[in-house]
Amino acid sequence: MNRPFLLSILIFLLLFVGFATIQPSILALALPLLLYLLAGIWRSPEKVQLRAERILDAERVKTGDEVTVTLKVSNLGSALEEVFLEDHLPAGLEVTSGSLQHLVEIPAGGSVSWAYTVRGRRGYYGLRSIRAIVGEHLGLARLDQELTTDGQLFVLPPVLRLRRVSIQPRRTRVFSGTIPARQGGSGVEFFDLREYQAGDSPRWINWRATARHPQHVFSNQFEQERAADVGLILDGRHRTNDFGDRSIFEHSVLAAAALADTFLNSGNRVGLLFYGRQITWTLPGYGKLQGERILHDLSLAEPGDSQNFQELYVPRHLFPSRSQLVLFSPLIPEDYDILAALRMRGYQLLVISPDPVSFEAEGIAETQTNILAKRIVRLQRTVMLRRLRGAGIQVVDWDTSQQFEEIAKRELEQRYFVPSGILR
């Protein structure tokens, strides 16, 4: 109950009883209460003018890194006897050292500062205000204020370093890179033979072929290596990622960050499409700056639901035709048609699919029913993945109990050969 209100009730009761019984001693009981109230009024804060500043030692950190937040509250008004300061920390951040709350006395023109360190999971955190409750020592007059501050923190997903990821899109860019371009020229890998032309290095002469055809001299041609367009698509649909209070989405983000870094390091042009509650499109680009942009957007990505994107949606106009697409999704059987259609249109598709069956099974009891259900869902998934592979889509089925580096090394470093019968 409100303290002044409680005191006033008590005073009124005592006055009423005192006057009703004509007992001055009962009236006298109200004296300390009245004095108490008067003392509260006498020392109540007059004009509160507090200003808060917030300094973060880093605004962009990797998951697990600590950030020191320094807060300074200055009093530009009269002296304040008791100020309770509390910083609002968004959910997802945890304090590792120091304290968010302070009870202090701030003289006129004085200031108080303190620091604490936080650590958080991937995401964007706006640190916009501090709560200040100003009062006097008796705690009767209290002023609750929100002091605005500037501050934001991006906790970026961890970036795993992969040695190489082998992709082979049908179309490459003109710039040199590491993607085999299916065209002869200077390179490393043998591509074809042609008749010797002026300017060819003598070291390129294929002596074995030349010996078989004495009238001609043949030289080796090598496969050109060029940069390519890579479109990363991150599936943030609630229905595919969330299982009760657990989410497999973080695994997709981890893989997306790792592959974006690897593709960019190889000189490719990389863009990112995220869709969950809404679509977020990171325009394609090259280099470290693009890597930062992608990590920034990945830090903001949260799974969600939208009426428009219940099904897998890939806006084709965003991706150059016959370019490389990489989809990060746990997949559901309904996704097959859309993926197959993309493949038919000439896109080279790589699907990194964190396994939702084993992920969900970790969190549920091993009952007979659950084991049977798991088997059925596992069969459905196996069939779907087999169909996708049959359509010429490279699928990496990632059991999330294993490290992504292991999976990537095993399945992504080798050149992928499309099964026979698939038109490339």
């Binding site: 009124f12 009761l13 009883v17 006298a28 006395e105």
Partner: protein, 188 residues
Amino acid sequence: MTRYLRFLLPLLSICLLTAGCFRIGSVWFVVGLLLFGWIWIVGLIFHWSWIPPLALFIAFGTAALGLYLDPSRGFRSNFSIGPYSLLGTSDPGHSVVFLLPAVLCALFAWDLAEFHIRLQKASPEDDLTRMEQRHLLRLAGLAITASALWLAALTQHFNPSFEWVVILMLCSVWGIRRMVNWLLGQES
């Protein structure tokens, strides 16, 4: 200091109330008071938030009842200058010596319970000793002022007419209402 006073003041309050009400003559009343004192202390140990306000009401109510039922009227006629009390008609009994300090202790116990909650929110790095000292100093000032006023009320007298009593009552109600409204407005 506050942590000891939090328990000491309720104990003192209950002891003084018991001593003040002893003259009423009801054993059950005294037993009830002691039982409540025990609940009060247990409530403070277990941080029951409803205990301090309830204790404040009970302490003041008990003190008012004790003063009203005290059979030993004539405190002022024995110890004071005038034969009449503040508002003229009644002379308090000897229990006033115990009951007035008892309510003061109850008020301070209620205040310290709230202050203790505020202190618990502070960080270990804050300078709480200084804050505690200033708080206790203010309570001491209040205690001295209240005692002085009580002493004046018990020793001095004036005999106003009924009209003045009514005007005084209305003024006090209006004044307190204004005061509380101001404090509530400050908070909002």
